[in-house]
């Protein structure tokens, strides 16, 4: 899959209006350029290198880790105290009138750079918004990690069994998946909130995880349907491998790309689902703090205390955006058809023969 298509890609990138005949020497150059980069590397190494080269994904990864570290070190976890002076449960006296933010930046209406005691402001009870948001970031992270673990496990097992064994298993599990798909998540959250009092972080995370695996199960099933017909699976079966071994040792590693990418994107979507649930009055509710519960609590404050509404929103956007870019980078990295188009400059440096120059 490396040689064909390389000149076309160049046409696409150049967008030339006039069609050009396939340029054979040029194709050889690009192919050798492509192969030189991956020679002697394992699949995992190639994927890793591709991911690290994806600039958007790397920047997002660094930003996400920074936000996580900030939230963990600033207010601490559980009994461990952080370096920030307030906790989300302190109610200090508002410093500025109406608790306006003390953060001041030049060019943004401030006179100079200053962080102050309450950089993101305080709400009407005096709560420090920065501390509350940091707690919200921690809890939201907990939600999406539990959600990812649960839904990935369920989705992979159900999809794998359905796709590998087929027949009766497939029919039963897929009809079950169809049934779960059409039950609204809001309803589940509302029932969980009422029947078992689940408005805390853990129960909401578990409920979401138990119902959001359906998309992954379908994708894993499709992967298994295609892979189980391949020769290496026949070889393993002839060699006497058990079904469990074939599923987990032979087929699953080959579909890891689909699983990783979709789990990442599900984590991003999970945050938005949690926020939506909080807005509708279900999901995580005070005194438990999540980004969703904060922003929906302060929805009415946009005209009077805009910072209360804007800051949690900014953090939601940063986290979801980072996860989206990481997912995009992973998708590019795992896609075997993905080729990096060498820049003309690189090509010229790599081959001595003068290559066709398209602007």
């Amino acid at each position: 899959m490396t040689a064909p298509g390389a000149p076309d890609l160049q046409h696409v990138a150049g967008g030339t209006a006039v069609p050009e005949p396939p340029d054979v020497p040029n194709r050889a150059d690009e192919t050798s350029f492509e192969q030189k980069e991956t020679v002697g590397l394992s699949q995992a190494q190639i994927v890793r290198r591709r991911f690290f080269r994806h600039r958007g994904a790397m920047i997002s990864l660094i930003v996400l880790i920074f936000v996580l570290l900030l939230s963990v070190t600033s207010i601490g976890i559980g009994p461990i105290k952080g370096w920030w002076q307030w906790t989300p449960y302190d109610r200090p006296v508002p410093q500025n009138p109406r608790g306006e933010p003390t953060l001041s930046l030049p060019f943004f209406g401030g006179t100079g750079f200053a962080i102050g005691d309450h950089p993101m402001g305080q709400d009407e009870t005096g709560r420090d918004l920065f501390a509350a948001i940091m707690r919200g970031v921690q809890n939201t992270m907990v939600v999406i990690i539990i959600l990812a673990l649960l839904s990935t496990t369920l989705g992979v097992v159900i999809g794998a069994v359905s796709g590998y064994f087929g027949g009766w298993w497939d029919a039963a599990l897929m009809r079950f998946t169809d049934t779960i798909i059409i039950i609204p998540v809001i309803l589940i959250a509302a029932v969980a909130g009422y029947a078992i009092g689940a408005s805390g972080v853990l129960p909401v995370a578990i409920v979401l995880g138990l119902f959001l695996w359906t998309g992954l199960a379908r994708l894993v099933r499709a992967e298994f349907l295609a892979l189980r017909e391949r020769e290496f699976v026949d070889a393993a079966r002839v060699a006497g491998a058990s079904s469990r071994r074939i599923i987990f040792k032979h087929i699953l590693p080959n579909s890891v790309g689909v699983v990783v990418v979709n789990t990442t994107l599900l984590m991003g979507a999970g945050i938005l689902i949690e926020v939506g649930l909080s807005f509708l009055g279900f999901g995580i509710r005070p005194p438990d703090i999540s980004l969703g519960s904060l922003i929906s609590q302060y929805t009415g404050a946009l005209t009077t205390r805009p910072w209360l509404f804007i800051w949690p929103g900014v953090f939601i956007i940063i986290i979801v955006l980072c996860i989206q870019f990481i997912g995009d980078g992973l998708r590019d990295a795992f896609d075997p058809r993905q080729k990096r188009i060498p820049k003309q400059k690189d090509l010229k440096e790599a081959v001595s023969s003068p290559s066709e120059a398209t602007p």
Binding site: P4, G5, P7, D8, L9, H11, V12, A13, G14, G15, T16, A17, V18, P19, E20, P21, P22, G56, R175, D178, T179, I181, I182, I183, P184, I186, L187, I188, A190, V191, Y194, A195, G268, L272, V275, G276, F279, L280, G281, F282, G292, I295, S296, T299, L302, T303, F309, G313, I316, I317, V320, L321, Q324, F325, D328, R337, I341, P359
Partner: protein, 515 residues
């Protein structure tokens, strides 16, 4: 094929049945419908209310058996007697306004979805054709950014910064501020510059020209206070018609196809000539049906002109004529609607603040068909904008990925090698095949539309399907929740089947029987 469809329908029926049972049991456990009745202070009234609710909702029956009582009422739909039970919040049968609610929700989401699909596909194709360009990266970043926004966050910001600011702007005389004119001109100029190919002077010329054009138009609009009483007039319609005719011909047949070009120009000219007499037709009692009839007539005229010009391939000319006629009709409709903008803004019920932040129609507004049309648009504007921004990302990304995959196929190289124009390669060979996976995604999304409107309706305070569901859950009112679920589930299952059939119909490699 027929056996496959029947099998899928039967499976879908049982899936809905099973899910409705699960949901019924869940709803029965989600809250006590009698909660509000316990708060009645008068003991006699309280006992009466409790006993009447118990009787009408069959609360004395175990939920499992109660489900079958409910199912019996719903099964009446097959013989024309639907009974979704009573709602305790409205004290009315749920069945009564269900159809009306579905229509309102459709009005809310349908326009947004169609626009999002069209804009998303267009942007996706352009980003695929200009892969790894500055335009591609910028669009990718912004679609990801919009996708990361919670819907109600966008909605609240739009209400505050678009609706209220725009209304203030209208009240103050609609003078467009300079910073807006400069920014708009700059953005358009940069976009055109990055999309143009060729030498630097050519790109600078195109980018600069576009920027000057946009800046000039905006300045003219500001000076003449155009937004207070907008309208296009015959000259602008003529220019637009010429642009539409040439643009559509370029997309469908290429401007070198003289027959198609003549068809498009004739159709546009017919539209322009009919503009003046149509004003009188529009003035007499218009209804939505006359409007749709005129649209169908226009498309038929476009097809007819195409066949009259004929040529080697009359089908292509007819298609060009039909699309041109559709767009010309849209321009004429837009012009007439704009003429109603001034009277609408001046209407007593509007009081000069046209863009609405809540609700689906203005109470106490009296006016003709065009005033009502403007009213629908001003209420739809914000929800549509919010929904488009959020759903744009997925369509753009899907189209881009699908298009890139197709453009890497061998048959595309073959097409280029045999000397076809880039337009034919992209529009005929690549675009059509790239749309196959997208068609199923769109069908799938339309199936989920009704159910996805809960947050939109809540934040914009539309009283339709989503509201039925949300208020039912909050007030422990089981029957509205079940009605919402049943409608949403049936639509979702039907469109799922449709998506699979569509895939099989569009891609001959897929055999339906073997699924």
């Amino acid at each position: 094929m027929a056996i496959y469809i029947v099998r899928r329908l039967i499976a879908g029926f049982f899936v809905v049945l099973g899910a409705s049972f699960i949901v019924y049991i869940l709803v029965a456990n989600a809250g006590d419908p009698l909660t509000s009745s316990y708060g009645i202070t008068d003991p006699v009234a309280r006992a009466q209310r409790i006993s009447s609710l118990t009787a009408s909702l069959n609360l004395d029956v175990n939920p499992v058996f109660r489900y079958f009582l409910w199912l019996k009422g719903v099964a009446g739909c097959f013989v024309g007697q639907c009974d979704f039970g009573y709602s305790i919040t409205t004290n009315q049968p749920v069945t009564g306004d269900l159809a009306g609610r579905i229509l309102i929700t459709l009005k809310l989401v349908l326009a947004a979805t169609i626009l999002a699909v069209m804009i998303g596909i267009a942007i996706g194709i352009i980003t695929a054709l200009r892969q790894y360009s500055g335009f591609d990266y910028t669009i990718t970043f912004f679609t990801f950014l919009f996708f990361s926004l919670p819907l109600f966050f966008v909605a609240v910001l739009l209400k505050e910064f678009v609706a209220i600011q725009f209304n203030d702007f209208i009240t103050k005389g609609a003078h467009i501020p300079w910073w807006f004119i400069w920014t708009a001109a700059l953005v358009v100029g940069l976009t055109v510059y990055s999309l143009t190919r060729g030498q630097l002077n050519r790109r600078l010329l195109f980018g600069g020209g576009a920027a000057v054009l946009v800046g000039g138009i905006l300045y003219y609009m500001s000076v003449t206070q155009w937004l207070l009483d907008p309208g296009l007039g015959p000259i602008v319609i003529a220019i637009l018609g010429l642009g539409i005719a040439i643009g559509i011909t370029e997309l469908t047949a290429g401007v070198r196809n003289k027959k198609a070009l003549r068809t498009a120009l004739t159709t546009a000219a017919v539209g322009l000539v009919l503009w003046y007499p149509l004003q009188f037709v529009f003035y007499q009692g218009m209804t939505i049906w006359i409007l749709l009839g005129l649209l169908v007539l226009a498309i038929a005229v476009g097809i007819g002109i195409g066949y009259l010009w004929g040529g080697d391939d009359p089908g292509v000319s007819a298609r060009t004529g039909a699309i041109t006629a559709l767009l010309m009709s849209a321009v004429i409709f837009l012009d007439r609607t704009m003429q109603a903008w001034g009277p609408y803004t001046a209407n007593e019920a509007i009081r000069g603040r046209p863009i609405k932040t809540i609700g689906d129609s203005q109470a106490g507004l009296d006016g003709d068909f065009w005033i009502q049309t403007v009213d629908v648009f001003t209420h739809l504007l914000l929800p549509t904008l919010a929904l488009i921004l959020i759903s744009l990302a997925s369509y753009t990304r899907y189209t881009r990925a699908s298009m890139l995959e197709v453009l890497n196929q061998d048959y595309i190289r073959t097409a280029r090698a045999k000397g076809l124009t880039e337009r034919t390669v992209v529009m005929r060979h690549a675009f059509r095949n790239a749309m196959i996976p997208l068609a199923t995604i769109v069908a799938f999304d339309i199936g989920g539309l009704l159910g996805g409107a809960v947050i939109t309706e809540t934040v914009f305070q539309w009283d339709a399907m989503g509201r039925l569901f949300q208020s039912g859950l909050v007030n422990n009112d089981p029957n509205p929740v079940m009605a919402f679920f049943l409608v949403v589930a049936i639509v979702a299952v039907l469109f799922n089947i449709l998506a699979d059939l569509l895939y099989a119909a569009l891609d001959p490699r897929i055999r339906v029987g073997s699924l």
